[in-house]
Amino acid sequence: MTVPVDYEDEARLIAQAKEDAEAFGALYERYVERIYNYVYYRVGNQQDAEDLVARVFYRALANIDNYEDRGVPFSAWLYRIAHNLVANWHRDRSRRNIVPLDDLIIAGAVDGMPEAVAESQEEHARLIEAVRRLSPDRQQVLILKFVERLSNVEIGGIMDRTEGAVKSLYHRTLITLRDALTLPAAEPKKKRRWFGLRRTRSK
């Protein structure tokens, strides 16, 4: 879903957006879907995602004069705003002890035969639940890699890490996720069965 960025064109738009809201509207249209995707997968429902996306772009508009191109793409700046706002949102949610609705389970459904849909949804739900139990950084790397289809270099620009650090984080995340989905300790009351994964820690 990502397209190559014309950085000269983007720099021109950013300069215009500092003076002209219409130009900011063009930047908004360029990035709204990507930011929405990121926020949606972090919060798990449409209503809160829309509220947070609105806040992201209002904050960007309010602070665009402070944005300086230092080799970090404008999208990375937006993602960082989104990351901070989502973190605040989770902090507020945990204080109020509210568990968000998981629209994601429905969004993750795949096309298929009717009898296969329920099982497929259950598997998607289990995977998404496991992803959402990961730390924010690990969730972020998975969303940027699988939903946004960004390269490790691009993800590094957004997360302020080197390419190698992103790769390591990604590997650690996969291993943690595999263990969470396969080891019985993660869900002791149920018999674990998740896709075709096997336990590989033999004794």
Binding site: M1, A17, K18, E19, D20, A21, E22, F24, G25, Y28, E29, V32, E33, Y36, N37, Y40, Y41, Q46, Q47, E50, D51, V53, A54, R55, F57, Y58, R59, L61, A62, N63, I64, D65, G108, V110, E123, H124, L127, I128, V131, L142, F146, V147, E148, K167, S168, H171, R172, L174, I175, L177, R178, D179, L181, F195, G196, L197, R198, T200, R201, S202
Partner: protein
């Protein structure tokens, strides 16, 4: 001597064979000899990557939401811009920023009211 593959060792293995997850890359013989379960562990991870690819799909915002928010953003006074002639002297960027944030909070409050969320904002009754 056979050893059980711990998560840390598996991570080291991935560092050593960075393409192991993206294709059918043969693992080094010394690794397979030392960790007999390495191949199974990699198969698990490949399967997990495939499931992530099929589950974490792009989602799209509602077109109405995208258009409404764009309209609201474009209407908000841009930094350094005056809302109307003779009404608002050219002030600091901080003032314009505060106006934009206020407009954003107002927009969100209106949306919540329209959704029927009680007490969404003390500003909206």
């Amino acid at each position: 001597m056979d050893e059980t593959l711990t998560p840390a060792m598996l991570e080291d293995l991935l560092e050593r064979c960075p393409d192991a997850l993206s294709g059918d890359v043969a693992l080094p013989e010394d690794v397979l000899a030392r960790y007999p379960d390495a191949r199974a562990a990699l198969d698990d991870l490949k399967r997990l990557v495939w499931e992530l690819e099929t589950t974490l799909k792009p989602v799209y915002p509602r077109p109405d939401f995208v258009q409404e928010l764009k309209f609201a953003l474009v209407q908000a006074p841009a930094p350094g811009e005056t809302p109307g002639p003779g009404w608002f002297p050219r002030r600091s960027l901080q003032v314009a920023g505060a106006v934009a944030i206020g407009a954003g909070l107002w927009y969100i409050a209106i949306r919540r009211r329209n959704r029927g969320e009680p007490g969404a904002s003390p500003l909206v009754t």
